[in-house]
């Protein structure tokens, strides 16, 4: 069986990295907002880092789902034309 190389372009890598960073920033903002709203300690900015990473992964997974949906809709539109 011949293994097939999957090539990820540097543009794609850059795009994914930016998406992950944006997701992390969103999670970070969410944490800041929750600290302000619930009046908890600012030390949670680093003590809750694991939760922030989990939420980052959740957001990233959401972007993947959304992008797959967009891709599917586009394919459907192209197919209909």
């Amino acid at each position: 069986m011949i293994m097939k190389d999957i090539l990820i372009s540097s543009k794609r890598q850059k795009t994914e990295l930016i998406i992950i960073i944006v997701c992390f920033i969103a999670a970070f903002i969410m944490n800041v907002v929750s600290i302000i709203v619930y009046k908890t300690e600012w030390s949670e900015l680093w003590t809750q880092i694991l939760w922030m990473l989990v939420i980052t992964c959740g957001f990233y997974a959401l972007t993947i789902i959304v992008r797959i949906l967009i891709w599917l809709v586009r394919r459907l539109c192209i197919y209909k034309k």
Partner: protein, 437 residues
């Protein structure tokens, strides 16, 4: 069930020294200061010659401890039950044996006596020993009547000798730590105390022949024992007084033989309320046919609660769950609360459950099932303090007063149950201490 990482006596006092105030803190517990550092240095190689009266189960527990105590030299043993005396002589083979305590008291070589006999023997043995010029350690409870307790106290005061009563919680590291926390205001104002001791055993010892029933199982009969109130409650009543720095003024309660209907005369099920002059109540309950709750003295303050037996404290205001978890929890509720198939929350709402904190790193907890004694419960420290006091001749300050009131309160509780009424602490039995000074 014991989590034991035993704290050595030196480590214990070192830990205490590290707590806020150090020496200042120790001054709140005067019995711990009776032997000064100078005294300790002077008596470092001295021993006290002890005559031991009552070599049953608790007696042998003490004797085994004394064997490894460098200040104790047990030179005489006394018991009128030969098998116990034989067991004890195996621990101290060179000790002279007596069947009559009066002969032991006549022995001029003996400086101190330790008494671990049935309750009905405590008062007259202690009084005679003090009058014979001996320092005395007597097991708790002091006696079977308030008058006997009062006579013991007065004889002690007149004798100028050392008297210790076996209230080992006064020397138990975790209790001392707890009291330091309470008296520093950590749990705020004490609003109530719930003390209880639950076991599930019949409290009986095997009897070789029927005529020895009342001798061996003395705890079960009114002629020799006051039952749960003198065997268990006195320890816990003392904790309540210690925490509040007060003596309760009234008591009422109910007692019954509910489960162990085996010919015993003392209650196996008691429930009482002690009321202090500031309105605080200490409830006390003891049942020996269910062990689910074990033993504890829950001391309830407006800012927190302590459980000295478990060695835990709990603040009323629990630290909230992290903000991010609260936010997720709220989002999840908004999304799923109206969805019929949604199960219980996956978000740890219970993160804010009050699990409490340990009061110290190294401590020993026990479940109270043993009626002989438990490792790390302060008994070794108490015995050592007695040896030091007997060598220096300096009584431990306030120790007898603490023991006196817990003994009398136990007896008044029993009277309240037997007479089915509210008992007020009799003025004639008040000795000058705390709010009765």
């Amino acid at each position: 069930m014991s989590e034991d990482t035993n704290l050595s006596r030196r480590d214990f006092f070192k830990e205490l020294g590290m707590m806020g105030g150090g020496g200042m803190m120790l001054s709140a517990f005067p019995w711990l200061q009776s032997c000064s550092a100078d005294d300790k240095a002077k008596i470092v190689k001295e021993k006290v010659r002890i005559g031991f009266i009552g070599t049953g189960s608790r007696g042998q527990f003490h004797l085994n401890n004394l064997k490894s105590n460098p200040m104790a030299d047990v030179v005489a043993l006394c018991d009128n039950y030969p098998p116990h005396l034989k067991d004890a002589s195996a621990i101290f083979p060179k000790a002279k044996m007596y069947a009559d305590y009066r002969q032991l008291l006549e022995n001029k070589d003996i400086q101190a006596v330790m008494i671990a006999t049935p309750l009905n023997e405590h008062a007259h043995m202690t009084i005679e020993a003090l009058q014979a010029g001996k320092h005395v350690f007597c097991e708790k409870s002091m006696a079977m009547t308030p008058q006997d307790c009062f006579d013991m106290y007065n004889t002690f005061k007149q004798s100028g000798k050392v008297l210790f009563i076996g209230q080992q919680r006064l020397y138990d590291p975790k209790y001392i730590r707890v009291m330091e926390m309470i008296h520093s205001g950590l749990i705020g104002t004490i609003c109530g105390i719930r003390a209880y001791w639950f076991r599930n055993n019949d409290w009986r010892r095997p009897v070789p022949s029927p005529e020895l029933e009342r001798k061996i199982n003395w705890r079960l009969y009114k002629a020799t024992s006051c039952g749960l109130m003198t065997e268990l409650a006195t320890h816990q009543l003392q904790v309540g007084n210690w925490a509040l720095k007060m003596i309760p003024e009234t008591v009422t309660g109910m007692g019954d033989i509910v489960f162990w209907k085996d010919g015993r005369e003392v209650y196996d099920n008691v429930s009482l309320i002690y009321r202090y002059s500031n309105g605080v109540k200490m409830s006390y309950e003891s049942i020996i046919s269910n062990k689910f709750l074990g033993l504890e003295e829950e001391i309830l303050g407006n800012k927190g609660t302590v459980e000295p037996e478990k060695g835990k404290y709990y603040f009323e205001d629990v630290k909230p769950a992290p903000g991010i978890m609260q936010l997720i929890n709220q989002i999840e509720h908004k999304v799923f609360d109206n969805v019929s198939f949604a199960g219980p929350s996956w978000v740890p709402e219970t993160a804010s459950i009050n699990k409490g904190e340990m009061i110290m790193d190294h401590m020993t907890a026990h479940d109270g099932a043993s009626s002989v004694g438990a490792a790390g419960d302060g008994t070794v420290e108490l015995e050592t303090a007695f040896c030091e006091a007997a060598i220096t001749g300096k009584p431990a300050k306030n120790l007898v007063e603490e023991a006196y009131y817990s003994s009398v309160l136990g007896l008044l509780g029993l009277q309240a149950m037997e007479e089915n009424r509210i008992i007020t602490f009799p003025a004639e039995y008040k000795i000058p201490y705390l709010n009765f000074a």
